[in-house]
């Protein structure tokens, strides 16, 4: 396997992320722990999107829906007094998978622009549902009553502990998606993306495989949602706003579609740049926008394409 450089980048990223809390403590800048934790949570979401976008060819413009459902699941359970992560997080993942099953069942039969519009439309519906849920903050949002509990084993109020938990989950997510795309299952969705007519002619019915990938992707993004609500401790329907879905797409495209690890880099660069530029000028989007356009134009395989050779699927 030609994994050499990708392995190195993965290792370097893990070391870099692992070094952030002590470095921040040394520099007296705890803010960086917060920033990179957010980066890693979005990275999990971006990796989940890459599974269906990069390998399945499904351009979901509604992936923020699962971030939202994960976050709402945790908050709603917390409001009703269920605080254990061992209940909350599986429910967040399960609810996201159910939602993905429903959205996927409808959207995957369509293709191209129709697929994009259907995923977007569902997410907008959920966004407005969130806005109308007055019991859970409605438009303004609400505080998460209490962060998810691990029976005293891990304390999410402790920024460092929470940070390393997210790092561990990110590494697991990357390895899981890698494993999936190289399995028989992964080969089917990649084949169907590359050449659907041929895939059908050799005897595969792509639909159930695509739907399964869509559901797995939704579940993983739901986990990111559960992490994100614990990170911000503040629930708002903005989690599901369509611009959030766009940001996730940008992370994947910037990092490199179909590279698994690339979207992690995409999340890192996008959020760090956003942060740096916005502290420098309030018109930071004027700089970020052209930068992204340049990347798309000149680095077609994203940051991953600059760092390592990815086998291509077409």
């Amino acid at each position: 396997m030609r994994l050499g450089r990708r392995r190195i980048v993965l290792l370097a990223l893990v070391l870099l992320f692992a070094a952030v809390p002590p470095a921040a403590a040394l520099l007296g800048q705890p803010f960086y722990v917060d920033l990179v934790r957010r980066v890693m949570i979005y990275a999990i979401a971006a990796v989940s999107l890459d599974l269906i976008l990069g390998y399945g060819g499904m351009v979901s413009f509604g992936h923020a829906a699962y971030l939202g459902v994960g976050a709402y699941a945790v908050t709603i359970l917390a409001v009703y007094g269920v605080h254990s992560a061992l209940v909350q997080w599986p429910v967040a993942i399960g609810a996201s998978m159910l939602l993905a099953l429903a959205i996927g069942a409808v959207s995957i039969r369509a293709s191209g622009i129709y697929f994009i519009m259907i995923t977007l439309a569902f997410t907008q519906m959920l966004y407005y549902l969130g806005v109308s849920l007055d019991a859970f903050g409605g438009d303004n949002g609400m505080r998460l009553p209490m962060r998810s509990q691990f029976g005293g084993l891990i304390d999410l109020r402790n920024g460092t502990q929470f940070y390393y938990l997210v790092l561990a989950l990110l590494v697991l997510a990357v390895l899981l998606v890698r494993r999936l795309v190289d399995s028989r299952f992964g080969m089917v969705i990649r084949a169907a993306k590359s050449n659907e007519a041929r895939t059908r002619a050799i005897g595969f019915t792509p639909y159930p495989y695509r739907l399964a990938a869509f559901v797995i992707s939704g579940g993983l993004c739901g986990l990111a949602g559960a992490l994100l609500i614990n990170h911000t401790a503040y629930l708002t329907p903005d989690l599901m706003h369509w611009t959030r879905s766009g940001e996730l797409l940008f992370m994947v495209i910037l990092g490199g579609i179909g590279s698994t690890l690339g979207p992690v880099l995409g999340a890192l660069v996008l959020l760090v740049l956003e942060n740096a530029l916005s502290s420098w000028t309030e018109h930071w989007q004027i700089i970020l926008g052209p930068f992204l356009v340049l990347v798309v134009l000149f680095a077609r395989r994203g940051l991953a394409g600059l760092l390592w050779r990815e086998e291509r699927d077409g």
Partner: protein, 249 residues
Amino acid sequence: MAEPLLRVGGLSKSFGALRATDQVELEVLEGETHAIIGPNGAGKTTLIAQLAGDLRPDAGRIRFAGEDITALPAPARSRKGFARSFQITSVYRDFTALDNVALAVQAHAGHSFRFWRPARADQALRAPARAVLDEVGLGARADVPAANLAHGEQRQLEVAMALATRPRLLLLDEPLAGMGAEESQSMVRYLATLKGRQTMLLVEHDMDAVFTLADRVSVLVYGRIVATGTPAEIRANPEVRAAYLGEQE
């Protein structure tokens, strides 16, 4: 007499006023190499699309291996042993030749909801795929991305993918399309080695190849089968000569 492997009866398909397939009757016997020839616009592509399951006929039945498959979609037909190659090369361009064939093997190795073991290390897929590549003469090119194969090699890969599904019937849609003389000859030689042990339905423009390979030939003109017979019979058939071979002198 046993039922033919493929029996097509009364097959019709119209596009507006155009009767692209008109009451087609066709039988392919177990073990034979059956060719379909016809001038451009005779409706070969439409007929193939209906046989392969990509297009629903307006009327008529398709029976395959004793079963009515008229309503089955393409993947289900493939799983029943009806394989096809494409006229315009249709392979996974960025996968290696071996990956391409291994996928065809995988499609016939039970369901693929297997999420964990790497497919490329799976000898249950790789070994049979390698054997098929060797057989078609692409063994040395197994690890080359399909996009980097020469045109003739891609055509071989096209056939290899169909063969890897261990089909009962192999539908070859112009396997010689776009090939040079030498490549054509080598493909015809290879198909000749398959003859007898693999039932084939061959749709081809190259008359020399057809008359070399086929046990029987059906002639399609304006959506209708106007004649079926041995190559010698077809050559001698005045109707065919008039309608198709264009030898009216």
